[in-house]
């Protein structure tokens, strides 16, 4: 079916203005938050109801047309990058909050609802939706489910997978799956977990029931400065060893604090090699005790300066710097490339010195912000896309960082997903037999590979071509495949 026929067919189930076909209308959908990759879709479909989603998928299935779901397009791995011969299925119009049940502490929402909108709707009841990605004003809950997004508070409050109860999912053949339930578990295989983080490869989420958490009575943050990144890393371990699970624990290196300080005036110590923000929340009594203990641990761990926020305004100011890391990167450099590896925390110092070495090798600066509590690194590689070759260098630099994360016993992505960006690194992280299981899972839902084809899991052939393969127990991977 050509694109005109397909558009006409889609217009039989959607209002005419919900099917976009002209190049200028398609343009806003050509990329997600990873703008280095751009591709126009053939058609954009904007259903407004679940029934319309079902109809669109049925048409695509019958005509063997690839479908890429899209929430708010803030993804950082190219997960929502359109397919040139496919339909981009935007869920943005499904943006109703269907129900807030304060007594059961749940919210039932459509996939296009913004993450922060849920917390805003729950606020009158003293409740909120705990996972708080930095993109929360913009990103959609459907995208959060597809990426299993986290936030700065996830060491204590969990990721998306820990905070959802139930999904409605439409499979590529238009069948409706009710996954999970209103209780705390569901019968059969845990498809709720399998769907979470599946990057739009298994089905389209049309409804999400999330858990709401009571807003803590009080939150307070300790800011500690260190003259050595190793000491800061040890301080994190010492906090955990003392039996404290902070509500948030974030680290920034010197180049980051300098970049953000200029921008938000958070009062950071600019000589410090690393700044640690460690938050406590809970009842007033609990927080008072914990903050005192955290301060003492920072002191023992060799902090050169320790400040506890004195009031809510100061707490927000301390956090403002951390939250401004991305925009600050955008201010100090024309472009930046955000990485997302996770490592066991004890390897932090090694990995950071490795990144420093790569930074001089590639001649590109790198800012490090770090979800220190759970080992999730976000190196921001600064580059200028207008300088020929710099993007390629930045990408190579990034790929090297991810290899380092794998070697350190970590992973290539903590929360941003594989998408199209890290597809080659998947070949390094997994064995052929493991990738085969991923393909088998995909085939259990979508045997014709129409949903988001080419993303998240590399074809075995691609891994052979990519070359940077993982040699495991001395064996070469895919010996049966030709080398290039």
């Amino acid at each position: 079916m050509n694109s005109f026929e397909l558009a006409a067919r889609l217009r039989t189930v959607l209002p005419s203005n919900s099917v976009l076909h002209d190049t200028e209308d398609l343009k806003p959908y050509e990329c997600d938050g990873l703008s280095a990759y751009r591709q126009l879709p053939m058609i954009v479909a904007l259903p407004q109801t679940e029934e319309e989603v079902v109809e669109v998928l049925r048409i695509c299935h019958a005509s063997k047309t690839p479908v890429v779901a899209r929430g708010a397009g803030t993804g950082l791995s190219g997960g929502a990058l359109p397919h040139p011969k496919g339909v981009l299925l935007s869920l943005a119009k499904l943006k109703r909050i269907l129900k807030i049940d304060p007594f059961a502490r749940t919210a039932q929402v459509q996939p296009g609802v913004r993450n922060l909108a849920i917390s805003e709707a729950a606020a009158p009841y003293g409740l909120y939706y705990a996972p708080d990605p930095s993109s929360q004003i913009a990103c959609s809950i459907g995208g959060n489910v597809a990426e299993n997004s986290g936030g700065v508070h996830c060491l204590k409050y969990g990721l998306t997978v820990h905070n959802i109860l139930k999904l409605r999912v439409i499979t590529i053949d238009g069948e409706i799956l009710e996954v999970g339930g209103e209780g705390l578990d569901a019968p059969g295989y845990d498809l709720l977990a399998l769907m979470t983080g599946s990057e739009g490869m298994l089905g389209v989420v049309t409804e999400v029931t999330v858990k709401l958490t009571p807003r803590p009575e009080k939150a307070q943050v300790v800011m500690a400065a260190f003259n050595d990144i190793r000491k800061a890393g040890n301080a994190v371990a010492n906090v955990i060893a003392a039996g404290i699970i902070p509500a948030g624990m974030e680290m920034m290196d010197k180049i980051t604090t300098q970049a953000v300080e200029e921008y938000v005036h958070a009062g950071y110590n600019l000589d410090a090699a690393a700044i640690l923000l460690c938050e406590s929340d809970g009842t007033t009594e609990e927080v008072a005790e914990e903050i005192e203990r955290i301060g003492a641990i920072m002191n023992r761990s060799g902090a050169t300066e320790i400040k506890a926020s004195r009031d809510e305004a100061e707490r927000l100011r301390f956090w403002a710097g951390r939250k401004a890391a991305f925009p600050a990167a955008g201010r100090v450099s024309p472009d930046y490339y955000c990485m997302d590896g996770t490592i066991p925390r004890k390897r932090l110092a090694d990995v950071l010195s490795g990144i420093e070495a790569l930074s001089s090798k590639y001649g590109l600066r790198c800012m490090n912000v770090f979800h220190a509590g759970d080992g999730n690194l976000h190196p921001l590689i600064l580059y200028d896309a207008n300088r020929p070759g710099e993007l390629a260098l930045a990408e190579e630099f990034g790929a090297q960082i991810l290899q380092m994360c794998i070697k350190a016993g970590g992973t290539i992505t903590g929360e941003h997903g594989v998408g199209i960006e890290k597809i080659d690194q998947m070949c390094s992280q997994f064995e052929a037999s493991e990738l085969e299981i991923f393909h088998a899972i995909k085939a259990a839902f979508d045997p014709e590979e129409l949903l988001n084809p080419g993303k998240a899991v590399p074809a075995l052939r691609r891994c052979a071509e990519h070359g940077a393969m993982h040699v495991h127990r001395g064996e070469e991977k895919f010996p049966e495949l030709p080398r290039f």
Partner: protein, 403 residues
């Protein structure tokens, strides 16, 4: 210990070659749980070709035991699936840490593999999360005998589909777990148990109302007109919460929660009274296994996992409520009731309350223990089973006859 893995893989390949069933066995402590197993390989509905109907092989994984890696400050422990839960928990305890989902052991032989394969969680579940919430990674053998690793030892990992959590609660029907990495948490500095006299409806109301407030409640249990509540956390927080909630502090709180977790509480024995088993002590030793195994004969124990705010369920038998109202245990005299009528009434009540019902213990036929799946969900589940275990050798029928 690679030789053990090679042995398991050989056993898998051999079973697959002959379409023979392989019953994965950890400690055998949860034999009571799940469907009685079918003795052949591929379930009849999906089988092609012939197989030996009488052949059942037991794959005993208890020998593959031991802690692989444990770094308390990383909050992660990795252990072999045959490791006894008691050993694992003792190791964590030494470092002031715990498995926060409080897995029931149901006997001293319980293994990590069995704990993850059944996916069961104890009293702390409503506040801390379930077994699946703490699983970070697994190493496993699939139906081809391939040695596979998914997830890892880090807190956040979204590379590839979440196979580790899919394995959790899959009753050993998708593969043999070799190693599991779990997130662990510090044990609370203080715990305090309070008791309130209340009617059932009041208790459900109170549990849900309190759960909506920032209170350090870590477990709840309602039985026989008494609501028992555990508070956990820093001393000042626990004290302040006690002052706010009121209630009588009870001694022996630890033993009470242990009796709920291990189902040694009199309620689970199907006897009148339903007060905690005072004589019980936490560490049962080997002889404890028999005592903890199930209720008195001819009692069926149902587990209903439903929306927490559901009003008292009107069903025959006696109930005990946990998880802030989200878990309702129902014990029914199986002998003098119409089993079919009870079964459908229980299932209906659970479905109506947004959840599901499972026949947790029974001396009856135990053929459809788990709540039926919607056809679309069963279709996907069967596809998954066929991919992981093409010859249908792993625990056939233990979960559903079709998988």
């Amino acid at each position: 210990m690679q030789y053990l893995i090679d042995q398991f893989a050989d056993a898998i390949r051999m079973a697959a070659g002959r379409n023979a069933a392989l019953h994965i066995r950890g400690g055998g402590t949860k034999d009571f749980y799940g469907n009685r197993m079918i003795k052949c390989g591929k379930p009849a509905s999906v089988t092609h070709g012939s197989h030996d109907e009488s052949e059942v092989n037991i794959l005993d994984v208890a020998s593959y035991a031991g802690v692989v890696d444990y770094e308390p400050t990383e909050l992660v422990i990795t252990a072999c699936s045959g490791t006894r839960l008691a050993d694992l928990e003792a190791e964590l305890f030494k470092h002031g840490q715990m498995l926060a989902f409080e897995p029931p052991r149901f006997g001293s032989g319980a293994t990590l593999g069995g704990c993850i394969a059944t996916g069961l969680s104890g009293p702390r579940r409503a506040s801390a999360g379930a077994a699946r919430d703490f699983v970070l990674g697994v190493r496993m053998l699939d139906g081809k005998g391939d040695d596979l690793s998914f997830g890892g030892q880090v807190m956040k990992n979204v590379a590839g589909y979440d196979v580790s959590r899919l394995m959790t609660g899959s009753m050993g029907t998708l593969g043999v777990l070799l190693e599991v990495s779990l997130k662990v948490l510090p044990t609370p500095a203080t715990e305090l148990t309070l008791r309130f006299r209340m009617r059932e409806a009041e208790a459900i109301e109170a549990m849900n109302k309190w759960a909506g407030k920032p209170l350090p409640i870590s477990a709840t249990c309602f039985c026989d007109g008494e609501l028992t509540v555990r508070l956990s956390g820093a001393q000042p927080a626990v004290r302040a919460a006690h002052a706010r909630l009121g209630g009588d502090e009870i001694t022996g709180g630890g033993a009470f929660w242990e009796s709920i977790r291990e189902q040694t509480h009199l309620f689970f024995q199907g006897e009148k009274g339903g007060r905690e088993d005072k004589g019980h002590n936490g560490d049962k030793g080997d002889k404890g296994d028999k005592e903890t195994k199930g209720n008195t004969p001819n009692k069926d124990l149902w587990r209903l996992s439903i929306k927490s705010t559901t009003s008292p369920l009107v069903l025959p038998g006696k109930q005990l409520i946990e998880w802030g109202g989200a878990l309702r245990w129902l014990i029914i005299d199986a002998a003098d009731t119409d089993a079919e009528a009870v079964r459908s009434a229980v299932r209906q009540a659970a479905s109506d309350a947004g959840g599901h019902a499972m026949l947790f213990r029974s001396d009856g036929p135990r053929t459809d223990v788990f709540h039926p799946l919607a056809p679309a969900m069963m279709k996907i589940s069967r596809h998954l089973k066929e991919k992981f275990d093409p010859k249908g050798i792993f625990n056939p029928g233990r979960m559903y006859p079709q998988i």
